[in-house]
Symmetry: none
Subunit: 207 residues, 4 copies
């Protein structure tokens, strides 16, 4: 997660850096791009803005990326992977199914608090590279779905849960993250996660 994501190795020009200095420059560009795209959005962002933030010359950008689109896609990949990692590393082995969901959401909320740009970047992906956009959410839903299936196998969850329930849970998580991690200063990750977890445990009806 800390190694720079290089552009795809295939293609006419291999832009992978060959020296340590090159690796540093590539990393500076990716970090600067995350800020630039996050603050201004894809279309308002400019290569000039990226290189200015990175402290490199304009031309250096094209030493490592072939186009504005390419670095954007690289960034989405990067972030998509980081989100997955954040949720995964917050979980522990052999937790009950519902606790696994709670831990995943907590991890995600914490990550979103520290990477508020992620929403803007992934959302704008819908317009820049729709395939990556769909892929990101399909993969996220798939992972939730797999966890639900595991919970069913262990006899902890309703047996009729399917892909759609995974999408519903993902939607809850994403919007809670938007509202309480990105649009709010105070994190309160645990409280928000508990609240969502209570819905999953018992619904919203009075008992």
């Amino acid at each position: 997660m800390t190694t720079p994501t290089p552009p795809a190795d295939k293609g006419p020009a291999d832009k992978a850096p060959r020296t340590e200095r090159g690796r540093r420059t590539l990393r500076k560009l990716l970090d600067a791009a995350a800020i630039e795209f996050g603050e201004r959005g894809f279309h308002e962002a400019s290569i000039t803005g990226i290189t200015r933030r990175a402290g490199t010359a304009l031309g250096s950008f094209y030493t490592y990326f072939n186009s504005k689109d390419e670095i954007f896609r690289a960034l989405v990949d990067d972030l998509s992977g980081k989100v997955r990692e954040a949720a995964r590393s917050a979980r522990q082995q052999d937790l009950p199914a519902l606790e696994t969901e709670r831990a995943s959401l907590t991890g995600f909320l914490r990550f979103a608090s520290e990477h508020k740009e992620i929403y803007r970047i992934i959302d704008e992906c819908e317009f820049v590279d729709p395939d990556s956009f769909r892929l990101h959410y399909r993969n996220t839903a798939r992972r939730i779905h797999e966890r639900l299936a595991e919970g069913i196998r262990k006899g902890e969850l309703r047996e009729d849960l399917g892909e759609a329930h995974a999408w519903a849970i993902m939607g809850m998580n994403v919007f809670l993250g938007l509202r309480y991690a990105v649009w709010s200063e105070d994190a309160g990750a645990e409280e928000v996660a508990e609240l969502a977890n209570s819905i999953l445990r018992e619904g919203i009806a009075k008992r």
Copy 2:
């Protein structure tokens, strides 16, 4: 909802049409803009594209709108209102709280199936006019929150439900709409709504 939404009356120039002919041109422009923005997104869309679809001259656009942003905002207003209407008109008076939620979601899913462009337009709003974007979701969450409060008052819902639960429900609804109304051909609005409703009724744990 079928009368053309005129631009705000304030500002340097009042652009409200004064003749019947003018009203027709304004309506043509708004309809064309919905298609253009829906298909290409805000930044890829062009004024030329709008006027070409509307069958008017480029210059005529500025007879009715002061800028590309302005017509976009007018459109978001229009659609935001239509979404609210779609959910509201699907409900009936004096339904139990959980049935009210089910009906709202069904109405929303049906609307989204027929207006697939709505996601693109409202999502892109985040980049074009963030205030409208936040306003749209805050208002939607507020309406859900009000319904939850009513359910609590009637003794049907858990008493600890608050704004955050409203956001969680909205997230579920939005993502189910994206996945099953916009990205799928078959509607199945009732089935999807029932599935979401079952989570609200009893959660996902095995009983």
Copy 3:
């Protein structure tokens, strides 16, 4: 020959001017382009240079042409037609075959004297649009070939003349034009044409 050559009417955007003012601007751009390309060559020429010479705004260029390539091709077409016209209009009906060649060359040399840019533009065409380049010379050779065939039919020329002889004659004409019409100030079109004609009449051997 005096009406502006509009870009091809087909294609996504029809750029033909619809008003008289537009027609004047298109003509100004074509004339300016002939000078700019003639003086600087295709690659050194800039759209900015063309519009500056034409006295229009940069953007106006793209009102009438889709690209630098397109106006270049339009210009080559224009010039190719003008060359043909210059040679044709210098001839008269029912001249003996050799006199027809002499008159064609005279007309060509006079034209080249007044349009010295033509060599640079057509030569550079080899690199910008090779197809047009070949077409220009193939067509020119074909016309010479047809005249030779006519001379044979009239019993005035050797019966073994073919396409290759047409290319040889074209080569003579082109290089004499380069040397004595473009690289020299004094025209002397008749003298040069007579000298070339003497080769065609009797060869270069002593009799």
Copy 4:
């Protein structure tokens, strides 16, 4: 003709290679440049393309040449000399004047068949280094002119032949080479040369 053509020794930096290894690199660069310029033309060609073909690092280029122009000029020099050599070596001592011309053309056609890039490179020279371009053709015409003068001295050619006749002959040769050596696969050098020679012997009129 096989020793690398070093850049002019004058100038700020003397770039002549000092080691055997350096000499090999210089030769690789020149050969690569001939291919790159021939295939892509001067402006489309890139230093990167040259060094990639040569298998050297980009920076090594500037160890041997000061600029893109310089290597291009070196190449034109090289090719101009090769053309001269090809025509000269095809001739023999004490041939009749007309046979000398025939042999020169045959040699040139054969050379052009094997070095089709020569036309592109020399033609583009008009735009890159007009002086070299003019020099090349002036020198070629001068050599033909000298041969004509020798033919006159020997009493074999018309006494009024001058520089212009040399240009006419050069034009024939160049265009026949373009059409039948570069644009055709089959050489047929002798046939083409005979056909041109027949024009020089007797013209094109019927006898």
